[in-house]
Symmetry: C2
Subunit: 635 residues, 2 copies
């Protein structure tokens, strides 16, 4: 049984429990082809690249099977572990012989590389052995260990094989023999091991691992790793009041803290998590769900510091954002977390991988002049296997359960078998989501029983209707909410959900200075952009939307793997009078306006065609969202 990412089945403070990934079969036009590409293109090509770049050889070298120097960066083991995790999740979902063979091979190499004392890191071998645990700040030993644990758990859940889990447990025991109360102090420069240790505790029920996770969290903020803000070591975790530092580190740390909360129920920890989440979502997150706006330090910026062209918005940070919100959702059952999870998944994270499944963005700008293109690999290749394991986990994030309820988080055409109090409930979703807001849900329990169905009404949806067996649900249907339908369910019960999904224009808080007088197009969970390939006539940076713009939304099955495009009439700005001027007096330069048609495509699909300008925040002219303003200054 491959419960995904977080197995809270026995976590006392977790409101929701995940369901096994293998019990969900996706049959849609959106995710199903992506999971196929993941199996057939992404995972095999990443495996080859890991071989090419010496990442797997490093394990062979550590095991004494081959000679030669360590290759690449000291944190490269983690890429292999993330690939293993992605492959395991994929196999749980659908058996693929090629992937299974690659997986067996690489796991043999990993297991063989472990030291007698349980230590496992291919960089710290031979002449580097004496440097083990001497630089927790920079050298990512605990980070790599965490990814090993997650990979081992995924392998165990996916295959039932104990081999890699034994390796992980031996390493965890070794770490626990070195670090902990009364032993050595320390905390990792890059969080990751915290959530991995909690999951290892869930898998093995060895409380020592939970305690060690808490120990690493509690050691943070006392300068043991230098005290920097980038490493979130400037303050103890429970004293943090804004989300700062390296974005991936910050969110992985929050993931670990959320996992710890689900086991301990520590209120103070949850209050800190709430504070950080609100700071992130209210002030430091892109409209795509991307986070970490600064190139310098790959870090969160200040409040409202969200540049578009120089956005960092690392793919790994978007993956982390999904992971954290999934945990917060499990902890609370609150739909605001599902909203952000869905947002980051469909937009910022998904943009990280090309449609062909073989190229990746590390950095995800929201405006570009055509230079930024996906790469097949990176020296620091954290993002490719991270997006792979995220995609592989999508089937596991659609549902979860609580005591007497089934929760529907994501709308995806699929069939699922869900165990609830000994009853096996078959749930079928028929929908064109995310392109259409109509979802038909069929509920088929193995025997009639009373339980609740919690249906997510997304935050983006202002009007929704829900019918059960043709009769409208009387409860008020509010956005960003779970609608509880409690009844005796029997075979053939049918729920019809109609989520109003118009084209909407979003504006930004005025302090996001670069978005003033600009709007983003969004429809349902999908954020759009203008890309040059669809708009040959005008540089898309010069297209403006006006209040009279009418939008149409059309599904184009042949475009970009099948997308709804949004078209409208706006104006094209002829800015040629600005030629060679950077600054001008108000009356010195006039921009000419010409009627123009534009076509927007989903942001996640950009840069899959010929290079050219792209923009998410489109100029908006003539809108007045000011109360009293015109009266005040009109002559």
């Amino acid at each position: 049984m491959v419960t995904l990412l977080v197995n809270t089945l026995e976590s006392p403070w977790a409101r929701l429990k995940p369901i096994p990934i293998e019990n969900v079969k996706i049959m849609d036009q959106f995710w199903a082809p992506r999971l196929k590409t993941l199996r057939e293109e992404t995972l095999p090509s990443q495996y080859n690249l890991m071989e090419e770049t010496g990442r797997i050889d490093n394990f062979r070298r550590a095991a004494g099977k081959i000679k030669g120097p360590f290759r690449g960066a000291y944190y490269n083991d983690s890429d292999v572990y993330k690939w293993v995790e992605a492959a395991c999740l994929t196999l749980a979902y659908e058996r693929d012989q090629k992937i299974a063979t690659l997986l067996t091979n690489v796991i043999d190499e990993i297991v063989a590389a472990q030291d007698e004392d349980g230590y496992l890191n291919t960089y710290f071998t031979y002449e580097k052995k004496r440097l083990r645990w001497t630089n927790l700040r920079d050298m990512h030993e605990l980070y790599c260990a965490g990814h090993l644990f997650q990979a081992a758990i995924a392998y165990h859940r996916s295959t039932g094989e104990k081999e890699l889990l034994t390796t992980a447990v031996r390493f965890a025991d070794h770490i626990a023999s070195v670090f902990g109360p009364g032993k050595r102090r320390g905390t990792p420069g890059h969080p990751e091991i915290e959530m991995a240790l909690v999951e290892l505790y869930r898998e093995t029920r060895k409380e020592e691992y939970l305690e060690l996770a808490q120990f690493f969290l509690d050691q943070r903020g006392y300068g043991l790793i230098g005290g920097s803000i980038v490493l979130i070591d400037h303050k103890p975790f429970r004293q943090l009041d804004e989300i700062v530092g390296h974005a991936v580190r910050a969110i992985y740390l929050c993931c670990g803290a959320t996992d710890i909360f689900m086991e301990t129920g520590e209120r103070e920890l949850y209050e800190t998590l709430e504070k950080l989440w609100k700071n992130m979502v209210y002030k430091r997150m892109y409209v795509t769900g991307g986070v970490g706006s600064r190139h310098a330090g790959e870090a969160f910026g200040d409040d409202y510091e969200l540049p578009n062209r120089r956005a960092y918005s690392e793919t790994c940070a978007s993956v982390a954002n999904v992971m954290w919100n999934w945990r917060m959702l499990l902890a609370t059952g609150e739909s605001r977390f599902t909203d952000i999870m869905e947002l980051a998944l469909y937009n910022a994270a998904l943009a990280g991988i090309s449609l062909n499944g073989r190229e990746y963005f590390y950095v995800n700008p929201l405006a570009d002049r055509g230079r930024h293109r996906r790469q097949r690999w990176f020296g620091c290749a954290c993002c490719p296997p991270n997006i792979a394991r995220l995609l592989a986990s999508v089937p596991g994030m659609i549902y979860s359960t609580s005591d007497n309820a089934i929760w529907v988080h994501l709308y995806v055409a699929s069939v699922a078998r869900i165990e609830l109090k000994g009853n096996e409930v078959r749930i079928t979703q028929e929908t064109e989501y995310p392109w259409d807001g109509r979802i038909d849900v069929t509920v088929e329990p193995s025997k009639d029983d009373e339980f609740s169905l919690y249906l997510r009404i997304p935050g983006w949806c202002r009007a929704a209707t829900v019918n059960v067996n043709g009769r409208k649900v009387r409860k008020s249907v509010k956005p960003s909410n779970y609608l509880e339908i409690s009844r005796v369910w029997g075979t053939g019960d049918r729920v019809e959900i109609e989520l109003d999904m118009p084209v909407t224009l979003l504006k930004s808080h005025p302090y996001v200075l670069n978005n003033n007088y600009r709007v983003a197009i969004k429809r349902g969970p999908v954020v759009y952009c203008l890309e040059q390939a669809d708009n040959p006539e005008y540089d898309v940076w010069n297209i403006a939307i006006v209040p009279e713009t009418k939008f149409t939304a059309t599904y184009e099955p042949e475009l970009l793997g099948g997308v709804v495009v949004i078209e409208g009439n706006g104006i094209g700005l002829d800015i040629s009078a600005w030629n060679n001027k950077l600054y001008a007096e108000m009356d010195e330069v006039q921009v000419k306006a010409i009627p123009v048609k534009f076509k927007a495509v989903p942001y996640y699909a950009w840069a899959n065609r010929s290079p050219g300008p792209m923009i998410v925040w489109i100029q908006a002219l003539g809108f007045n969202t000011l109360q009293g303003g015109k009266k005040l200054y009109k002559a």
Copy 2:
């Protein structure tokens, strides 16, 4: 005779020649108090900090006078040299016994630290000696050497003493014995030595130095120092077509190339300089004259990438911008260079130092929430002595001469003695510039003679009138131009210049996305900002200018050392409806507008009072600078 920065007296391709700094006496309310503060506060306090931080002890240690480890960063010698240069220029202008004593002391320490073979760098001594010249990319040996040469030249010109110049020449000869055609290849990671070597050539007439400068320039771009863009080593200099990389490095390199051009007249070199200058000024420069918009790599951004809040705009880069434009002006006599020189001087560079002369900005944002404050020193303390040497050189940048002409570049109340063909011409400027556009110039040649007076009509000035002895000059007076007045000049001749100096609003090229619908206030050469201290009622980020805003300009002698403030009526935006929302649909959030008075102060003077928000690019509401736009989309 202390000719400043660049002594082009015998440079064959330089159109203009500088005049000695000691021949200009500034008597205004703007620069004279700053030069006094420089002598009395800045230079003594910097000297103390150099002692405190071990920078001077490093020389004593190298000379064997004291024991102990090298202190600070490997490039710290350069700070001492820049301080020496600033002190020499200051002494040329006005004898100050305290400065003179400090100068003599530190020069003794420098001279004593030189090795027998001429080498001089206090980091590469004792156990580090064997590492000399092994890492030109990172270790700043040639950079420090360049600053030593400039300091030595300034000392020689200022005092006539040869001691430090001899040290410089010995070191230069040592460098020439190591590097050059047929010897070792190499180029510095941080340019600086190029312009220093050309100046040393001008001072000594040893052609070897000019050749070596050219050698270092020509070696660049072949990967000798790694081939990175940040170090401008990705292409040979003459193949560059955009200004990229670390901003200070890039502009120092251009300074050196301009100096080389003035000696060799190499057309290709000048064409590259033109291309880079245009790219910088038309696409990559802040409205303040600041450059280098990226924190990452302290580097130039892409075209139009000019964030305000995350501006880098290093103080040293603004100093460099003044230096380069001064050189381009000398090379060509074209006023567009003087315009940028003046802009960077009065705004981006001047903001680098506090009004009390003892605190500095390294980074100069154009919008802030109140956290960014000047510091008394930095671990990397390049900026403080750089701004000191720039301020000390202002008297030398007001005038220059050509064959039969005197050029007036800057308007500053002052008296100058200028040698022209054996005639000593006394020029007196009476003016309140930069606060007022009226300048009365009195010309008093020792004997009547025919020559030209070139008066700069600044680029910011749209309307100017010039009278000679009460009679209007007939020539058309164009902005960004030198107006030539050719006549027989005799004692008592008086030129009255009236530069129209209204309050102007500037807008930015539409691709500077963060400045859309925002304006900057400028008056004459001075860029303004809104600072919270003057506008207690509304967060200055929420103040907007409207088309009906009327501006007044008032001189306030007690404020910020005496400034013209700009006041007006605008609107204050109540954005409280945005509370805890980052994105909203168009009709979801309304901002309320309330009439408000605002007061703007010069940008250079910001952050000298209580901390609070500041903004240069102010919201502008209701302006229509679109031709045809309204018609197109109005119902």
